[in-house]
């Protein structure tokens, strides 16, 4: 690594730190409010077009939701000021670990390995 590149890299590193600090100061992320059922439905419709929802459960903190669509569980969780969604077999969602009010789902996906959803109880009555 030559000296010129090292200087350029150090300058760029400082610039990155400055820009990140500026972005944090500006507070211009997308406004996020806890999910409502209607908003969760709209997000599921965007993520899984054409899938009918047989049941929908929004988390206690409004930061995620889980829906049943036939044999699938559709999972939505907050990431930053956006959302990530995946689907897993419903039976797997029902059997997932639930402890201290947190449902831990193995999404079996390298780009979104796990989801943690806050519910009062799991599985919901009559949904298994």
């Amino acid at each position: 690594m030559d000296k010129g590149f090292a200087i350029q890299f150090a300058g760029s590193f400082a610039a990155v730190a400055l820009l990140v600090a500026l972005a944090a100061w500006a507070k211009i992320a997308k406004p996020m409010s806890p999910l409502s059922e209607a908003r969760a439905r709209a997000l599921f419709a965007d993520e899984f077009p054409g899938k009918a929802l047989d049941g929908l459960w929004v988390t206690n903190d409004g930061r995620g939701a889980l829906a049943r669509s036939g044999a699938s569980a559709l999972v939505l969780c907050e990431v930053g000021d956006g959302y990530a969604a995946r689907h897993i077999p419903w039976a797997q969602a029902v059997a997932a670990s639930f402890r201290d009010g947190v449902l831990k789902l193995d999404l079996a996906d390298v780009s979104a390995p796990r989801a943690r959803l806050a519910f009062d109880s799991w599985p919901p009555a009559g949904a298994a």
């Binding site: 690594m1 590149f5 350029q8 890299f9 300058g11 760029s12 590193f13 610039a15 990155v16 400055l18 820009l19 990140v20 500026l22 972005a23 944090a24 500006a26 507070k27 211009i28 992320a29 997308k30 965007d46 077009p49 054409g50 969780c77 990431v79 930053g80 000021d81 956006g82 959302y83 990530a84 969604a85 995946r86 999404l107 996906d109 390298v110 780009s111 979104a112 390995p113 989801a115």
Partner: protein, 308 residues
């Protein structure tokens, strides 16, 4: 004139401009003069990817440069770096090469794995432009430019034009500019065209691969205008659920490795490597094509409901 080494690097020269315009976009957004969104962790991931790509480029750039020089030493023509016609020719030919590189990088999984990080932000702002690949050199897409060296364009000329293209594409990563004048939108890649390219709405998938000139998309049937009634939703079909930079850089490669480990035939190996992103032997996963079909069916059903 040194035909091997570019006398200047357009990208290095443009770095101060990149920094200043990001500051400007953030400041104007803060004071509500333009529309943009910056999420801190997302911005950090994008800029760290940009910083890391400059290091990754050092590691693989040598091989690409050596290959380019070797091919150029076996060139068909001697193209002078001082002739205006040569610069006009390389402007169009490099941009055409970029179009096919970019199309390949979206439509075949092996190369998508190197490019996906540029699309994994759910934001579309100037920092997204710097969310560059760490693995592009390893994916070997630089080989697509070798025919230009074989034709006789000097390596220095190629390096400058590739840099110019990259710098041009920086400013189009913004929501602050709605539309450019009609004549400009007709010929050049613009913020509007490129917003469509970064969108994950089924209607917008796999379109607008242009670098500088949008004419290639119009010519090869991949052009899709931005529609006022359908706002782009940014990101990838299956968004990441955290901002871990290693996951941003390597998740699709890890996904390929996992799929290859479970492959049962050469057909499956080929499909997982070189099929479209989302390909699976049983068709249980979604590709851009299947998502578009589902979306079209849904639109048709809605129209039928309205008519009824």
């Amino acid at each position: 004139m040194d035909l091997l080494h570019a006398p200047f690097d357009p990208v290095a020269l443009a770095v101060p401009f990149f920094v200043l315009t990001i500051i400007l976009e953030i400041a104007l957004t803060r004071f509500k003069a333009v529309k943009a969104h910056y999420e801190t962790k997302d911005t950090m991931a994008s800029l760290a990817m940009g910083l890391g790509s400059s290091v990754a480029g050092l590691l693989t750039g040598g091989a690409a440069f050596a290959a380019t020089v070797w091919v150029w030493q076996h060139r068909v023509f001697d193209i002078p770096m001082t002739a205006l016609w040569a610069w006009v020719a390389i402007f169009f030919l490099e941009d055409l090469t970029y179009y096919w590189f970019h199309r390949l990088s979206h439509e075949r999984r092996f190369w998508w794995a190197a490019h996906v990080n540029h699309h994994s932000s759910q934001h579309y702002n100037l920092s997204t432009a710097l969310r560059q690949t760490w693995t592009g050199g390893l994916a070997g897409t630089w080989a697509l430019w070798l025919p230009l060296a074989f034709l006789g364009f000097p390596p220095a000329m190629l390096a400058i034009q590739k840099g110019v293209s990259l710098v041009y594409q920086f400013w189009i990563h913004t929501e602050a500019i709605r539309r450019m004048p009609r004549w400009f939108e007709a010929v050049f890649n613009t913020p509007s065209h490129h917003r469509v390219h970064h969108a994950r709405n089924p209607r917008y998938l796999d379109s607008n691969y242009a670098g500088i000139l949008i004419i290639w998309d119009r010519l090869f049937g991949t052009f899709q205008p931005e529609l006022d009634e359908e706002r782009p939703r940014y990101g990838i079909v299956k968004n990441l659920n955290n901002f871990n930079i290693l996951r941003v850089a390597f998740h699709e490669w890890a996904g390929i490795a996992k799929d290859l480990a479970g492959s049962r035939s050469l057909r499956e190996v080929a499909g997982y490597l070189f099929g479209p992103p989302g390909w699976s032997p049983d068709g249980s996963r979604d590709t851009s094509a299947t998502l578009k079909v589902q979306w079209e069916a849904e639109q048709a059903a809605k129209k039928t409901d309205i008519a009824a």
